[in-house]
């Protein structure tokens, strides 16, 4: 259990170096804004990270034409409600580091992005995903048995990057009570140009045999082929024979979901 905790801590401490640059077409001042560098936690959300970015860059934008900040990578608007690590695994995994993002304050893409009115909106979204995960794992019982202050502690742990604080509550959500492990594994599969896929998946089969990541992906995507797709979770490519339950317990994001990215192997890689 001790080495598991070390593993959990390593996952928690994953960070991505990001370079924020103001969109060229939005620069209004004569003096050019410097790019802004931040090392951001994989497990966090961009709206929690961008106060300084806004402070630094917004003064270079026309004050009469300045709306909510939104981020874009090579033309792809980034959804604020996805954890940063997921956004990177999905869009930036082949990028050079630091990950170069473009900052906008104009022309908010209403069709593609949700607005983020406040940090409370991020908390509300986070708690909703946690509840959804628990609905899948424990029929919602673990979350229902918590007090409101436990919910607040979970969120405070995420917001303030406090591993111990977070896990003091999260361990209750990761418990397998008695003989029952998780009823279903909370997971979502993401691919470029596709909607995310989420399906019911039990950690063991009817005979009680432990099911693996490979089983989980095959059940969610009938045409999944490990020869054609690389599988990335939390920035690593786990062995496909890893038990799905173990992955859920150790590689989930703080929202208690496994966010799994699939990428096609490049043609060149296939041939070799």
């Amino acid at each position: 259990m001790a080495e598991d905790r070390e593993f959990l801590r390593e996952v928690w401490e994953g960070k991505i170096p990001v370079c924020f640059r103001l969109a060229q077409e939005e620069i209004y001042t004569v003096d050019q804004p410097d790019p802004f560098f931040l090392l951001v936690p994989r497990l966090s959300y961009f709206p929690l990270m961008t106060d300084k970015v806004v402070k630094h860059l917004s003064k270079h934008v026309d004050p009469d034409n300045q709306g909510e900040i939104w981020l874009e990578y090579e033309g792809q608007p980034l959804k604020w409600h996805y954890p940063i690590g997921l956004l990177f695994d999905l869009f930036g995994s082949k990028a050079d580091l630091p990950w170069n993002l473009t900052v906008h304050f104009q022309n908010f893409p209403e069709e593609e992005l949700l607005h983020c009115p406040s940090k409370e909106a991020v908390e509300s979204h986070f708690m909703s995903v946690v509840k959804e995960a628990d609905a899948l794992k424990h029929r919602g019982q673990a979350v229902n048995n918590m007090q409101r202050k436990d919910h607040k502690t979970l969120w405070a742990g995420v917001m303030n990057d406090k591993f111990d604080q977070f896990w003091s509550v999260n361990k209750k959500l990761m418990e397998s009570t008695g003989e029952e492990t998780f009823k279903f594994i909370p997971f979502r599969v993401y691919q470029l140009d596709n909607m995310p896929i989420q399906k019911l998946f039990k950690p063991t089969d009817d005979k009680g045999d432990i099911l693996t990541l490979r089983h989980m992906l095959e059940s969610a995507l009938p045409d999944f082929s490990e020869n054609e797709r690389s599988v990335v979770i939390q920035g690593v490519q786990p062995d496909l024979d890893t038990p799905a339950l173990w992955l859920s317990e150790h590689l989930s994001y703080p929202d208690n979901f496994l966010h799994i990215c699939l990428h096609p192997f490049a043609a060149a890689e296939n041939e070799s």
Partner: protein
């Protein structure tokens, strides 16, 4: 797998907090009728209308002072988003599009507005229907 889903839904019904609406008793006869209809299609009397895999059946229930919809059972494209359902309900109950409407699954969580109905249905439907509760204020914060 379907049995497990049924268990989840029965449990959540048992755990459901009492709906604060005066009209809740009136909705039950319709509900029990539809849940008894295990083999027939809840939205159509025609047996020729097989379950279209590209569409899902949803049942909309109100919470609190949110207006009740006369027609609450709908068949919707899997690819429609939660935000589309919210806009649809707002138009139906003649609510302004700028007003808030919260949609809940399992009477516990609010999916992100850009979530497609198909995913939510696959994971949280009971007896082939996805029950969504709508409310004008945050009900399960």
């Amino acid at each position: 797998m379907s049995e497990a889903v049924k268990t989840v839904s029965e449990k959540s019904k048992a755990d459901a907090p009492s709906a604060p609406s005066v009209n809740s008793t009136r909705t039950s006869p319709e509900d029990s009728k539809s849940s008894d209809d295990n083999n027939s299609k809840p939205l159509s009397s025609s047996s020729a209308k097989q379950k279209n895999p590209m569409k899902v059946d949803i049942l909309l229930k109100h919470i609190g002072d949110a207006p009740i919809m006369t027609k609450r059972k709908w068949t919707v494209d899997r690819t429609k988003k939660i935000s589309w359902v919210a806009d649809f309900i707002k138009k139906y109950i003649k609510s302004d599009s700028t007003e808030s409407l919260f949609l809940y699954v399992n009477q516990s969580f609010a999916p992100a507005p850009d979530t497609d109905l198909g995913s939510i249905f696959d994971c949280f439907n009971s007896d082939g229907k996805l029950v969504l509760h709508y409310c004008r204020t945050q009900a399960y914060g």
